[in-house]
């Protein structure tokens, strides 16, 4: 077993019972919080910018759409041929996984905030929560693409602004969706990463979105697309979207 997978194992073990019992996720959030401290001490200054933003000689890390595997690999093993060392052997295990959790939180993969218990939400937001999360795997909920309140799949970037009303939600602009052309086929695509000789993007032409791993030479990406958020709303009616928005607002206010 590699060191990285041991750490994943530890992280998994730590989180498993918490997730299973549906309680708060302090360890997940706390790992990210602790990671911010380690990151500030060990990674910023000469190399990375403060809080993972632009600055220093190393790349910015916040909001880059880095995926969990990539962050885990790079923190543990570094990037050969660059100044980025592997930290797996250099810092204690709790520190390295805290940094992984922190950098993941900068990329929307870990909610750095504590999870709000359902009972603390107003009734309409509770109904919205039930609609937001796809509890039966029939691809009816928003959580197949959006992470919120510690659950869901992080396909899309974290929801930063909650649309004002149902109309705004239906007409939501999606500037991050581009048009990719692979092997003569063009389709709406959400680019995740373009690093290490690989382009990762979600093929949004059908749901659920499919994550594709491509050689950069095999894909052309153009800005903009014909994709519309309303096409992903499926059978959700206005009276469903209302409580979903109430849920998003309630979480944002916490």
């Amino acid at each position: 077993m590699t060191r990285a997978s041991q750490i994943i194992g530890i992280v998994a073990l730590l989180f498993m019972p918490v997730v299973a019992s549906g309680q708060q996720l302090p360890s997940r959030a706390e790992a990210a919080k602790r990671g911010a401290v380690v990151f500030a001490a060990s990674c910023t200054g000469y190399c990375h910018g403060a809080n993972g933003a632009v600055g220093g000689s190393a790349p910015a890390l916040a909001g880059r759409g880095l995926d969990a595997d990539y962050i885990d690999n790079v923190v543990m093993h570094g990037i050969p041929g660059t100044a980025m060392p592997g930290w797996g052997q250099r810092i204690p295990v709790p520190d390295s996984y805290a940094v992984i959790a922190y950098v993941q939180s900068l990329n929307g993969l870990v909610q750095a905030t504590n999870v709000v218990p359902l009972r603390d939400l107003p009734p309409e937001a509770q109904r919205g929560s039930a609609l937001f999360f796809d509890t039966q795997g029939d691809f009816s909920g928003c959580s197949n693409c959006h992470e919120m309140n510690g659950k869901g799949l992080p396909v899309a970037h974290p929801i930063a602004n909650v649309p004002a009303d149902v109309q705004a939600l239906r007409n939501l602009a999606t500037p991050k969706v581009s048009t990719a052309t692979v092997g003569g086929r063009s389709f709406p695509a959400l680019v995740v990463t373009q690093i290490r000789g690989e382009t990762r993007l979600y093929d949004m032409s059908s749901l659920p979105p499919v994550l594709l791993m491509l050689a950069p030479a095999d894909v052309k990406i153009a800005n903009g697309s014909t994709w519309q958020h309303s096409s992903a709303l499926g059978t959700l009616k206005d009276e469903d979207l209302q409580p979903i928005l109430a849920f998003l607002r309630a979480i944002q206010q916490h």
Partner: protein
């Protein structure tokens, strides 16, 4: 005699002789040779059940009853994951073995055991890896279903990810995940998921696009929903898929067995059949539309999923040739259906210790159900481990026999009187004596036993049978062994050092036949056995692929 006449006599004699060889008889009785070809593996082991007919039968006969005594281990491979043993089936394509353990995939050189590539799946934050029964290979890709309910396509040559898609949001959905090996059907890969998202879903192998999905529980307004109580039990039920299905290319039908619903929780009146729990489904391969279903156990209170493998074979029933689907079900009964229509043609008990019903009649009706009264402990048989667990039977068209490992064990079952609360199962001996096991060679249609191989503990390794008239499997004491498929005589045995718990396969590279046996006892096998055999607590874990062949000079 004139020469041409002599030749004619000789030819006639040869034909007569040929018709009397076991193989010719087999071909005459077991459908046409085209089907035997369809059901047999050759140099490759392309699919979880061998081929899509799920016989676990190989046409290779280099290793056979006369030389198996010379079989030697030629290499081994350790996965390093010991917790649940090595439960998966290797897939062999063009001399390369693809085997999964948890959510790891290894590609090995089939002749040397050298690691060609290794893939490690990183689950979602907060999710773990779990049991995995194997991968599927097609379209230049290796397909893995993951414990956190994703489907991953890897490049067959390099092990690099090509695409990945969520089968369900496992962070929101109760117990959702994939452990069964996927099934390749034409241009699609089909995965079966467990948990609240219990379903069969087909993905385009090239693009990863979802082609169709069949959810195990019909929603309000859909046919079958009326078999559920008028509350929201159906929402939380979850009918899981634990194993891999079969495919008939001529009929264009995919066959799959389904699990029981609701985590065996106390869930109300027995009059509710709760479709499609404990059923055999026939789905259109292109659309996923249900063609027919057959429910073995309506309202299963005993955890007797109808999930196990489905053998497709053409055999005479009552003198008439029929296209069959046969399941040696967890409940200790064999169900023989017409696979065109779903009509029940025969049902018979294969386990001797059976009291959850008094009988199942030839219409398939459960007679004398022993539904445990709520809150009262009741001894029911077979146990929730089944008269047979997930390890698969094998069927040889040469002997016309199926090879079936049987467990005679019960459990003390207590259904909670609180609705929705899970029951307790305590493994116990049968009412009239200690728990025991046997491996039977039997006619799959009539259940008539040709020979039986008695044993003490549960055989938890799948069976492999070959044109060399061998039947191979392993036991929890570490022996991987070969029997004569015709009479059950033990011909060879090898001590692997830990219990056997996976799916052995055979393949050929450069004219040399190999037998690959995943070995290593797992925690669950031990858990299921300590109740009746306390010494099972001492069984050692392991996870090693052993590969055997004849010495080069003697093959």
């Amino acid at each position: 005699m004139r020469r041409s006449f002599q030749v004619a006599i000789f030819l006639l004699a040869t034909v007569c002789l040929l018709l009397h060889t076991p193989q010719a008889r087999a071909q005459k009785q077991a459908g046409d040779s085209a089907q035997i070809k369809q059901g047999s593996t050759g140099a490759d082991w392309p699919s979880h059940g061998g081929t899509n007919l799920a016989w676990r039968y190989s046409a290779l006969d280099q290793i056979n009853t006369s030389n198996v005594k010379n079989l030697k281990a030629v290499w081994s491979f350790q996965t390093g994951d010991y917790q649940n043993g090595l439960e998966s089936s290797p897939i062999v394509v063009d001399g390369v073995i693809f085997i999964s353990s948890f959510d790891d995939v290894f590609a090995l050189d089939g002749a040397t055991g050298d690691l060609l590539w290794q893939y490690k799946y990183n689950p979602l934050p907060g999710k773990t890896t779990g049991r995995n029964f194997g991968v599927a290979v097609g379209d230049g890709k290796v397909f893995l279903g993951t414990h956190d309910d994703h489907v991953v396509a890897l490049d067959q040559k390099t092990g690099k990810e090509v695409w990945r898609v969520a089968d369900a949001d496992s962070t929101s959905c109760g117990r959702c995940g994939i452990q069964a090996a996927p099934l390749i059907v034409k241009d699609k890969v089909i995965v079966g998921a467990a948990g609240a998202a219990g379903s069969l879903t087909a993905y385009d192998m090239k693009t990863g696009h979802r082609a169709w999905r069949f959810s195990m529980i019909p929603k309000p307004g859909e046919p079958g929903h009326e078999t559920w109580p008028d509350d929201d039990t159906w929402k939380h039920g979850g009918i899981s898929i634990w194993q891999t299905g079969s495919f008939d290319a001529d009929l264009n039908l995919v066959y799959w067995g389904t699990g029981d619903c609701c985590g065996e929780a106390n869930r109300g009146d027995v009059k509710f059949a709760d479709l499609y729990e404990d059923s055999i489904l026939a789905l259109d391969a292109d659309t996923g539309k249900l063609r027919w279903y057959y429910q073995e156990i309506p309202h299963d209170n005993w955890d007797l999923d109808a999930n196990w493998e489905l053998l497709l074979m053409d055999r005479p029933v009552n003198g008439k040739m029929r296209k069959l689907v046969v399941q040696f079900a967890k409940a200790g009964y064999t169900f023989v259906l017409d696979r065109v229509t779903g009509e029940l043609l025969a049902v018979y008990p294969y386990a001797k210790t059976n009291n959850f019903v008094q009988s199942i009649n030839q219409k398939g009706e459960l007679i004398g159900r022993l539904d445990p009264p709520l809150g009262k402990t009741t001894k029911t048989c077979p146990s929730e481990g089944g008269a047979k667990n997930f390890n698969q039977v094998a069927y040889s068209p040469r002997t016309q026999l199926a090879y079936l490992p049987v467990v005679e064990m019960c459990n003390d079952l207590t259904l909670s009187s609180t609705p929705g609360e899970p029951p307790t199962f305590v493994f116990t001996a049968p009412p009239n004596g200690p728990a025991y096991t046997h491996l039977d060679a039997l006619d799959p249609v009539t259940g008539k036993i040709a020979w039986t191989f008695p044993y003490k503990y549960q055989i938890w390794e799948s069976i492999l049978t070959t044109a060399g008239d061998l039947m191979l499997t392993g036991d929890p004491e570490g022996h991987f062994f070969a029997l004569d498929a015709r009479n059950g005589k033990k011909l060879w045995s090898f001590q692997t050092g830990s219990g056997n718990h996976g799916n052995p396969v055979t393949y050929m590279i450069h004219g040399r036949q190999y037998i690959a046996a995943p070995t290593g006892e797992g925690v669950s096998a031990i858990m299921f056995n300590t109740g009746v055999w306390p010494e099972a607590a001492n069984w050692r874990l392991g996870s090693t692929l052993f590969v055997f062949a004849l010495p080069e000079e003697s093959k």
